[in-house]
Amino acid sequence: MNPLAAIGRNFITFLASTGRIVLFALSIICHCLQPPLYLRLILRQFIEIGYHSLPMVGMTTLCSGMVVALQSYTGFARFFAEETVATVVVISMLRELSPVLTGLMVAGRVGASMAAEIGAMQVTEQIDALTTLSTNPYKYLIVPRIIASIISLPFLVLIGDIIGVYGGFMIGIYKLNFNAASYIFFIVHHLEKIDVIAGMAKAIVFGFLITLMGCYQGFNSRRGARGVGLATTNAVVVASIMILLTNYIITEIFFIN
């Protein structure tokens, strides 16, 4: 085996699948903009993607808010501890931690289940059956999921922001014995509109990416249990990588000016 040939082959496969994903994304966007939209299905996906992800997102952001408060205290205790802790928690939660952690958790939960469900439908010919019953599978399966996820992810991130900052507040008050009133004052003082907006923008992009990868992998799943399993894994792994990459890019766009 020629190692160079292997590298080249993998690189070409990578480019080809990138191209396919981009085409898939474009056709989904076209379908999102044309009627009919299935409102019942969109609502069901809201519950599935948004509502049922709440406990997980709440837990994740609460714990990370608490941890950030604790760590920034041990790091900065010698300086103006109260203000520093409040600032670090607010900025890190709003700008980075809440969107990224929410994105990753939802990718694990929702992206995986989408890939598995759609993959199983593909394998059992249910997607073919949709077509024969005059229903466009893109409109019926993908569009509701895309719409529900790009709307519910920002809400999840917003809730994550609040819970995360509250987690930091609890540690500050009960463990580090800060003054509650002044801690809240520092939070409000350092709360910038741009931080919230950046988090929301990230959430919309992540929501799109998660659903895109879940549906793409499901639609292109190979036959058999193994094929569906592989599709599920790929959906989560690729979506997570894309989340981390685009997170960096969006951060750069918003904050490096």
Partner: protein, 251 residues
């Protein structure tokens, strides 16, 4: 007797990678008649059906439905002619996230603007035609036996009063009595309602009951095609072997 040709296939070819599955198929089905395709397992019967209904794109050849070549049609036009099809997949392909009656009513709700309770009424009637009572209507399709799933799928394929039915092994997995009920239903559709049928089966007794003509697929070609009463005197060794179920040569 009508002699209008509903479906015309000429020199249809399809291969998957290096594997040739269909190697120049020629077939005609007249309006209101039913053609049964027989052939060994893996000979490409299901692939042929999927080519005709537009789920698999053939490599070359002509498929004309009502005189119109459908292979090159753009997506929306293909969807328009699919309205007139009733398709039964070999594996049933029921939507497992929906209940039995929602499955049967799916095409109705998707194409006609009718409300859910009317659609449910029609679905129950179609379920009764395939021997399923109202109690199963609200079950999840995952909780049904294999034969029941097949019948629900059959009910779904005829729910929208199709003009052309494509059934892939409609009686496989059913008990003999149920198989006969389904055969009668198919005959009723094709003979009485004038629906054209493209049917696939392994079951020769079923084929004799439901077919006007029989075609045998072997090695990617139609090696014999003729009226159903000629099948016993086909003069073709492969057909004789198939209908008598012998393991000896030539197949």
């Amino acid at each position: 007797m009508s002699k209008i040709i509903k479906l015309r296939i000429r020199n249809l070819k399809k291969s998957f990678g290096s594997k040739m599955v269909l190697n120049g198929i020629n077939l005609d089905i007249c309006e209101g008649k039913s053609l049964v395709v027989i052939g060994a397992s893996g000979s490409g019967k299901s692939v042929l059906l999927k080519c005709i209904i537009g789920l698999i794109r053939p490599d070359s050849g002509v498929i004309e439905i009502d005189g119109k070549n459908v292979i090159s049609l753009p997506r929306y036009e293909r969807e328009a002619y699919m309205h007139k099809f009733g398709v039964l997949f070999q594996g049933g392909a029921l939507f497992d996230s929906l209940s039995v009656w929602e499955n049967v009513a799916f095409g109705l709700i998707a194409t006609r603007n009718i409300n859910r309770s009317t659609a449910r009424g029609i679905a129950l009637k179609k379920l009764a035609q395939v021997g399923l009572s109202e109690d199963v209507a609200n079950l999840s399709t995952a909780d049904l036996s294999g034969g029941m799933q097949k019948r629900v799928s059959l009910a779904r394929s005829i729910a929208n009063d199709p003009k052309f039915i494509f059934f892939d092994e409609p009686t496989t997995g059913l008990d003999p009595i149920m198989a006969d009920i389904i055969n009668k239903l198919i005959v009723k559709c094709t003979r009485d309602l004038g629906i054209t049928g493209f049917l696939i089966t392994h079951d020769m007794s079923s084929a004799r009951k439901i077919a006007d003509r029989i075609a045998m697929l072997y090695h990617g070609k139609i090696i014999w095609e003729g009226a159903v009463n000629k099948i016993d005197n086909s003069g073709n060794n492969y057909v004789n072997q198939f209908i008598n179920g012998k393991a000896e040569l030539p197949i």
